[in-house]
């Protein structure tokens, strides 16, 4: 099964499914994978912190609640923390700003996700982040491979 995840959404599934998400700019896709059980989850995170905004009913929209939901979903699938690995894609700043001190929302998203993963002791084993380029991703749950697609470039796996 191929499942597409849009902005602010997330999904958890198992091998041999594929989870994809298109058109990342400043948003960040975070994937967490359990290679032992071949279960993985993908969240399309839009904002760094639910406490600074109204969380509403969209947990995957915010870095903190998205990772919490992914971990709870994986735990329900009998995953255990020592077997989990994470990958990050996105967090770009699509337009080069004249004001170099302007920290874009993409950088804030990446910092927030890395801090939360570090606190949860989940290693980040691959990333394709930052810059001024849009990205799409395909998360293949058979081996936890994350394919990153950019306009005018061959897809690369991380």
């Amino acid at each position: 099964m191929i499942r597409e995840v849009h902005m602010g959404e997330g999904f958890i599934s198992k091998s041999p499914d594929i989870i994809m998400s298109q058109g990342l700019g400043s948003c960040v896709v975070v994937t967490i994978y359990d290679s032992r059980n071949k279960i993985g989850g993908l969240a399309h995170v839009m904002l760094p912190d639910s406490k600074r905004y109204e969380p509403g009913m969209v947990p995957y929209k915010y870095a903190d609640t998205a990772i919490l939901y992914l971990l709870e979903g994986l735990k329900a699938g009998l995953s255990e923390k020592p077997y989990l690995i994470a990958k990050l894609v996105g967090g770009a700043q699509m337009f080069k700003k004249l004001d170099q001190t302007d920290v874009g929302i993409g950088i804030q998203n990446i910092k927030a996700i890395k801090r939360i993963l570090q606190n949860e002791k989940i290693p980040v084993v691959g990333e394709d982040i930052g810059g001024h380029v849009g990205r799409s991703v395909e998360f293949h749950l058979e081996f936890g491979t994350l394919f990153v697609i950019k306009i005018g470039e061959n897809p690369r796996s991380i």
Binding site: M7, G8, Q22, G23, L24, G25, S26, C27, M46, L47, Y53, E54, G56, K61, A92, Q93, M94, F95, K96, K97, L98, G104, I105, G106, H132, V133, G134, R135, S136, I151
Partner: protein
């Protein structure tokens, strides 16, 4: 382009890769082939077209609503549409309910291309813009 003045927000001018190529051909013809392979030159020209069009649109809005709106220098990017407007959508995702879309078709001799102007006002500005337009509509009905 960022908007400043009575209405704040972001204004995008979007065009497809195919229409971008059409503009490249137009520029190539105008410049007699001197700039034919320079994508930066084409991008700069497209930014200038956006600059002029944005000025015309914002002046039109001013004529209707009396709201004064200026725009900043345009920035350009060639990429997936969702990636390009992503940051604006993210920043406004919890509050802005609507987007104005102006669809334009320009015909220059036999060469036509489409551009989309996306005006994404900040939440406060959206209310100001709508209430201003409603005032005008009431004025038209009354007269």
């Amino acid at each position: 382009m960022d908007l400043v003045g009575d209405v704040t927000g972001t204004l995008y001018m979007l065009l497809s890769r195919d229409d971008f190529e059409k503009i490249s051909i137009l520029i190539k013809n105008i410049s007699h082939g001197e700039m034919s392979d320079d994508e930066n030159y084409t991008l700069s020209t497209v930014a200038e077209i956006g600059n002029v069009l944005a000025g015309v649109y914002l002046t039109s809005i001013h004529d209707f609503s009396s709201l004064t709106i200026y725009h900043t220098i345009p920035c350009t990017a060639v990429d997936m549409i969702q990636s390009i407007i992503d940051e604006t959508l993210v920043n406004l995702s919890k509050t802005v309910p609507d987007i104005f879309i102006f669809i334009n078709e320009f015909v220059i001799k036999t060469l036509s291309f489409k551009m989309y102007l996306l005006l994404i006002p900040s939440p406060d500005s959206f209310d100001r813009l709508v209430s201003s337009l409603q005032t005008i509509r009431r004025g038209i009905h009354d007269s």
